[in-house]
Amino acid sequence: MKILVVDDQELNRNLLQHMLKFEGFDVVLAENGRQAIDKCKQEQPDLVLLDVVMPEMDGYETAPLLKKLSTEVYLPIIFITALGDQDSLRRCLEVGGDDFLNKPFDRVILQAKIKAHSRIRALSMKTFEQNKELDFYRLKTEREHQIVEHIFNRALEGNYHIPHLLDYHLSPASMFNGDIMLVALGPTGNLYVMMGDFTGHGLSSAVGTLPVSRTFYTMTQKGLAVGDIAKEINDILLTLLPDDMFCAATIVELSSKGQSLSVWAGGTPDMYIVDDEIGIKTHINSQHMALGILEEDEFDISTENYSVNSNERLFIATDGVVESFDTDNQMFGYERLTALLNDKSQNSIEQIVNALTEFRGNAEQDDDISILSLRCGAVNSDVDNFDDIYSSLPHRMALDLTIEQIKHADPVVELIDMLTFLKGAEFHRSTLFLLLSEAYNNAVDHGLLRLDSKIKDHEDGFIEYYVQRAERLEQLQDGLIQVSIEYDPATTCIHFIVSDSGSGFNVNHIDVDIESDHEHGRGNVLLRELATSVSYNETGNQIKIVYKLNNNPLYHE
């Protein structure tokens, strides 16, 4: 322990130095206040013995400056004084002194005072260290929260941009939301919306939202029914969540024309279909238990279906709404909510949120609050907006399929998978498949195997045809099919060229009558209708199909 002794009289300095060294302390000396401040900076003493009356800078002036040098940790200042009057002593305390030591010095009192103050300093240092550590952890936690928040934002990033149908308000009680709202477009232009509420709120309940959102987006992309989506999420939560945690949820599907609504709801508050003129038209109660409770074989995927129209909205809220309390501990309740919904001048999401905020007053929000309203109108899936995202690069791929590959591989899906990596092609996947599949199968069936489509017209001919196909393919000795796929960015056209090593056929005899009841020839009609153009070479062993991605009438009906 280091002690700074400040006294203008050499005798006093020496005496104190002697006493302190004898006790085992390190001692630093200063002759006046100015020197004391320099020494304090250099030596970082643990305690200061400070004379009051000194030339240059006296003790009253020095004490506050010394205190300033050590703001974080307590630096005890003990005044050395011969002054006994109250005023002088009071002034010592006012300028920051912590104690007094009277001249002449008493060894025992000096020792006691130093001990007492060094104990306080030790405590102060410990607190300082702990604060530093706390600060460190606080910053670390903040940083971790930021990372987690980032992950959540990315994971939950969905298609919220359907302003003509969807209005919503999400208000978490803490930084992380245990409520979840997910929106996705399905492959048939249908719209899926999920509103979920995990047990509790805050980070612990928000973690569940990650697997839920992933599952939701995967399943909606496949266009599954809401009951099946619910089952899938239930299974995931059952595996991941602890027993006492679950998710009350509503999953709805609005058909692309906005005429039918399919609802699976488990453990959620009532929902309402609200007509613009007459108010609440239908109450929808949840029919199931919340997600993450029932075992796979107990789970019920049945849904409720409603016919709806564009004058109606579906209103969904988590229990944070009706279970909001005001300062008198009164609950907002269903009555207030349905009264608002029945009043057409009061029932926008914004008005309901305002009413709720006003009701709550100064009472704290103790649960996550989420409200959404879904207008039951035509979804207008954004397919049109993909017009400007076609690849601007020319692409070309070509492959020669040998007899072994023709026998054992099924190249069409693989090629379409590759082709749909092309920007803008994904939305034409099924059509592109059909085009290439028809061309390729014609090359195999008729070009190489010389199968006659008329077989299909006989009773049970269809099966017969494919039995013969398998037999002939097995016996085929040699053959080659060449597939070339080119994409021209200027026209957004994909060119398929499929040639076979067969002897071709008379291209004028291609059957294109769709109304005929013939089992064959249907493929050619489809080709002509779906492709931008179809042509054959003279010998009839090469077909060329052009398909324009942009302005395909399929998306502009």
């Binding site: 048939t188 099924d410 996947r429 099924s430 059509t431 498949f433 269809f462 109304e515 493929g523 399929l554």
Partner: protein, 101 residues
């Protein structure tokens, strides 16, 4: 690619669900799926919700099914088609022969 079948609890509706690719590789499986149905069934549903691809051989298979089941069931419905699949069915005038939703 896969084919699954199910019968509704009341025994009235028989559903064939096709996942992924609906083409001639399913000829046998598809035929044996509907030959099993009993005579007093109200409706057969071909659920194409998860069908990504189909070509003209699938159309042939559907027509074959219709010929076989004609008179045995009240209705054959093709349901949950994606837009591009629906387009293929429309071009082939299947809306005249099947109930497509």
């Amino acid at each position: 690619m896969s084919l699954t079948t199910s019968t509704s609890p009341d025994g009235q509706t028989f559903t064939i669900q096709i996942k992924g690719k609906f083409d001639f590789n399913l000829v046998q499986a598809f035929r044996s799926a509907y030959t099993e149905v009993n005579d007093n069934l109200a409706m057969v549903v071909v659920d194409l919700r998860e069908t990504e691809y189909m070509d003209s051989s699938a159309l042939g298979m559907l027509l074959n099914m219709q010929k076989t089941l004609n008179g045995k069931v009240n209705a054959i419905k093709i349901s949950n088609c994606r837009p591009q699949i629906k387009k293929i069915l429309q071009i082939s005038r299947f809306d005249k022969k099947f109930d497509i939703d």
